[in-house]
């Protein structure tokens, strides 16, 4: 009885009940799409998160907690507790082994986007996603006092073009009552999308920050003419934080200790990679919860299959008796139901994977272009094949339940089905 064509019979039997079968397959397909989608976004989010900053050996700011410093200096979330003096910055910048530094001054905003006071070294040294450098989609770096360079999201969401003039507001809220509207900035550069907080930043020079706050931090800016301003020394007294690049990364730990024990003012230096994984430890809980929810949705899909098969079992006792009369062994009945369960899951899993990758192929270029987020491969890989295998296998195992019931029935019924 090796020739018993179980798989083809299972398939015909499913096709005969195609209404329910399609619905169960659809359930599994949707569950699978959800799961894979969550997985993709999860890995994509994690990757772009970890790719936010690289190439920087230390981030230095006033003493608080490492995660806090990382959040305000790089992710522009929350505010600094304290500033650091320009002298201290100069001291660290001149320390042996320091290759470059990039100052950062925060506190203003434009239409809800953070204004970052810095200089052109930012565009030169900031690295993300491995060794990728910031690139200009249009225009050039900062030059004149009231020049500004804006990130890709700022340009896209506000519809800004080169040479447009914008006004910077004091504070970081979306609605601000104090605007430095005496001193509009001119957009001279627009950056390419990076998928990092850079996209949501408005870059101006440190001198410009100094100038607009010259007549008190909450004023409308300065009324001095450009010529008068240019004649002045606008170098800042304070900055919020700065990035440090070293000649050899091995020196990072030593310099970090030196900065952390600096006597003149309370400072803190963090290694970006370490702080990022600390931060991910916090954010990652949400990520893992999402994955667990998605996994449960897949399990629910499989339970749908189980329910559908169990429900059909009674009306199919006759079918089993006929198969037995034709020479099928109880074991064939068992295999029939297990393969039915597995086939339904397989079909659902394949369709779900297909849907996911179709959506990815369509959506990935848009995501990449607009948000700089990479969702990884747009072709199914080993992981997906393994997942299809696992889902099919799990469904086959669940199929043991109806299979066992049918097996028992077919032994007990004999030739007579009394329905």
């Amino acid at each position: 009885m090796n020739r018993f064509p179980i798989l083809s019979l299972a398939w015909r039997s499913i096709a005969n009940r195609r209404g329910t079968a399609l619905l169960t397959i659809l359930t599994v397909a949707i569950a699978m799409t959800l799961f894979l989608g969550v997985e993709k976004v999860r890995h994509g989010a994690r990757a772009s998160f970890e790719n936010t900053i690289s190439g920087t050996d230390l981030i230095v700011g006033a003493r608080s907690s490492p995660v806090n410093l990382l959040l305000y200096a790089i992710f522009h979330i929350g505010d600094a507790t304290n500033n650091i003096t320009w002298e201290t910055y100069q001291q660290v910048a001149g320390a042996p082994g320091v290759a470059w530094t990039v100052p950062i001054s925060l506190g203003d905003s434009h239409a809800g986007f953070r204004v970052v006071g810095t200089d052109n070294r930012y565009f030169e040294h900031y690295r993300y996603a491995g060794r990728r450098q910031l690139e200009f989609a249009a225009g050039r770096p900062l030059d004149d006092l009231f020049d500004t360079v804006i990130g890709a999201s700022v340009a896209r969401e506000l519809g800004y073009l080169l040479d447009q003039e914008i006004v910077v507001a004091h504070g970081t809220g979306r609605v601000s009552f104090v605007e430095h509207d005496n001193n509009p900035f001119r957009i001279v550069g627009i950056l390419q999308p990076t998928g990092t907080p850079v996209d949501r930043s408005v870059f101006v020079s440190l001198e410009a920050i100094e100038a607009i706050h010259m007549e008190g931090p909450t004023g409308a800016g300065t009324s001095l003419s450009m010529d008068e301003l240019r004649a002045m020394d606008l170098s800042p007294d304070q900055i919020t934080a700065f990035l440090v690049g070293l000649e050899t990364p091995v020196a990072a730990l030593r310099l970090q200790r030196q900065i952390n024990t600096y006597r003149v003012e309370p400072l803190q230096a963090i290694i970006p990679g370490v702080a990022l994984s600390q931060l991910w430890g916090v954010v990652g809980v949400a990520e893992r919860t999402l994955a667990a929810v998605a996994a449960f949705v897949v399990l629910m899909g499989l339970i749908c299959i189980l329910t559908a098969i169990l429900t059909s079992l009674n009306e199919r006792r006759r079918e089993m008796a006929i198969l037995r009369a034709l020479g099928a062994r109880p074991r064939h009945i068992f295999v029939l139901l297990v393969s039915e369960s597995a086939l339904l899951a397989l079909a659902g899993a394949i369709i779900g994977t297909g849907l996911t990758y179709a959506a990815l192929t369509l959506g990935a270029p848009v995501l990449e272009q607009r948000y700089g987020v990479h969702l990884g491969d747009t072709l199914p890989g080993l992981y997906d094949l393994a997942l299809i295998g696992v889902v099919t296998g799990a469904s086959a195992v669940l199929g043991f339940i109806p299979a066992w019931a049918a097996f028992r029935n077919s032994l007990a019924d004999g030739m007579t089905i009394r329905t």
């Binding site: 009885m1 020739r3 015909r12 006929i322 034709l326 020479g327 062994r329 004999g414 030739m415 007579t416």
Partner: protein, 235 residues
């Protein structure tokens, strides 16, 4: 055809549950090769149970059953299933067909399950040719009905498809469990004649059970189960 009896029963007892009532208790019963036997019995007298034992779907609690010269009751479950697949044809009272296969595919099933029966179809030009031949012999035009789903066939037509399926690949024995009880008088007579004719043509023995004694005249021999079965359950 072998000269060995199609069915030989000796001292068979059977009960469904280990401590349950004895449903069958038969001393001796025999059907010769190619013989057509009518077995009469009231409802619940154990006719289906007897057929299940002969078909090897169940094994007797005690006693011996030989089928076509093979010791059916002594074989393992798997071998009983093989013997049934290769040498027996079974027709139920109704709902004989797998609902998801068209008539023709239903007829061909035994040839797909059993190499031996597939082989036996070779003389007729293969399983499909043999299935078509049997269908037309049973007055179901294969041109018209080959692809019909069972739901589109009348009960009489379904029973004829079931008969064709039981007969494909030259089985030595056909077991029929009240196959005419759902048919009206005309269809019943027509079906019975065709079944007996085709069993004769293929040399198969036929054990036909029914509670309707009026059918007995067409058979070689008629027996009453109540005279054979010492157990008195359900009667």
């Amino acid at each position: 055809m072998s000269a060995e009896p199609a069915i030989y029963l000796d001292g068979v007892r059977f009960s469904y549950a280990r401590k349950g009532p004895v449903v069958l208790d038969m001393d001796r019963f025999e059907v010769a090769a190619g013989e057509k036997v009518f077995l009469k019995g009231a409802s619940g007298s154990g006719k289906s149970t007897l057929l299940g034992l002969i078909a090897g779907i169940m094994a007797p609690t005690a006693g011996r059953i030989d089928v076509l010269g093979r010791p059916m009751s002594k074989l393992s479950g798997g071998r009983r299933d093989s013997l049934r697949a290769e040498r027996l044809g079974v027709i139920f009272q109704m709902f004989n067909l797998l609902p998801y296969l068209p008539a023709g595919a239903n007829v061909m099933l035994p040839a797909r399950f059993s190499p031996r029966r597939n082989e036996a179809c070779k003389v007729a030009g293969g399983a499909e040719a043999e299935a078509r031949r049997l269908m037309s012999r049973l007055q179901l035009d294969p041109k018209q009905y080959w692809s019909s789903p069972p739901t589109e066939l009348s009960v009489g037509q379904q029973q004829r498809v079931a008969a064709a399926r039981a007969l494909i690949g030259r089985p030595g024995l056909v077991l029929a469990d009240e196959p005419t009880s759902a048919l009206d008088a005309d269809a019943r007579d027509a079906f019975l004649s065709l079944l007996i004719e085709e069993c004769a043509a293929s040399g198969a023995a036929l054990l036909f059970v029914s509670h309707d004694g009026s059918l007995a005249s067409k058979f070689d021999r008629a027996v009453d189960l109540s005279e054979l079965n010492a157990a008195r359950v359900g009667t």
